[in-house]
Point group: C2
Chain length 171, copies 2
DNA sequence: CGCCGGATTGATCAGTTTCAAGGCATGTGG
DNA sequence: CCACATGCCTTGAAACTGATCAATCCGGCG
């Protein structure tokens, strides 16, 4: 992916949604070993992606061991993320989830001390297995504690990363 | 894996546990593309596994394209399972989780109409992001409804798979 | 027979969701 | 330039689901 932001998700028949990952510039997504699509993907904001045909990938993987290794490594990286995320969804509290989310996004998209979130509160909730209200309340609480500052709802500055790291409840 | 049953899990520092997968005979587990271990794995019952050295795998993958493809496919299969499980953990109700669990185990270990669960209620809870009490209550309720029968707490016979499939709340 | 770990069941509690109201920014048309 | 509509976000109160705490129960085994 070149620029923008994408959400990859699954839906239940009644509309409940679980976002499995947010894809940001530099990420590879939609990669598949088998035949069928696993997750739906949508751009959240204006997005530019680089398309690679399955055919040409298979060809390259078949002829070059390093390409094959690289493809495997990408899938393994996604699996690692999914395993971390299962721990979050199954066992963390709402505040721990939001803290973990902020640390992840800080790592991936903070520039010059500011983090510009491309997604709305509902998307964050569907990523963390929470409602948008619970996400909003957690962010408000962190703001009240001085852990973060806002410049508009989606422009966030982390003021106390240590505090946040403690709230994450890591392995 | 030859025989037995294994649980693969992650722990939080305070002991909360999330089981990412149960591995049963025929499954490959512990496969890794990078260097480090991602999940801890423990046998639940007496278990026999076939060990393969990382070194020899890497060698085989480097020289044989089909082996490389197969390794990638195994990791991709684990990713697919993790994505389904994130949907369960993030968005399904307790009863839907238990129903999904029963359908999965039915597929993987029912023989002659009986399913012999190798894991205790706590393990099931830690797999489904629930407490052991909630799992027990859901199973009791299904028993009362005639959806399943017990012969001892871990010997289960599914009597109404259609009903169970409806409770699963699939995609 | 009596012990022991695992399982069930009951009562209460707490965290998150749900429902509802209102606020704030952005954009559009008069 | 202002009035107003719209989408997103915040906040409050009530309701609910699943967690916690606690008491048995059951089955296998020494």
């Amino acid at each position: 992916m070149i620029s923008g932001a994408v959400r990859s998700y699954k839906l239940l028949s009644d509309g409940r949604r679980q976002i499995g990952a947010f894809d940001l510039p530099g990420d590879v997504f939609g990669l598949e070993s088998g035949a069928t699509h696993r997750l739906a993907a949508e751009a959240i904001i204006d997005t530019t992606v680089r398309l690679v045909k399955r055919r040409s990938l298979e060809h390259a993987a078949g002829s070059d061991v390093n390409v094959a290794r690289r493809l495997w490594a990408i899938t393994a990286g996604e699996l690692r993320h999914a395993e971390d995320h299962m721990l979050l969804l199954g066992r963390k509290t709402a505040m721990e989830r939001v803290a973990t989310f902020l640390m992840e996004m800080d790592r991936r998209l903070t520039v010059a001390g500011m983090m510009a979130l491309p997604m709305c509160r509902r998307d964050i909730g569907d990523y963390l297995g929470l409602t948008l209200e619970t996400v909003s309340r957690a962010l408000s609480q962190l703001h009240a504690q001085g852990v973060l500052g806002f410049s508009g709802a989606r422009q966030i500055q982390l003021r106390n990363r240590n505090r946040l790291r403690n709230m994450e409840s890591c392995e």
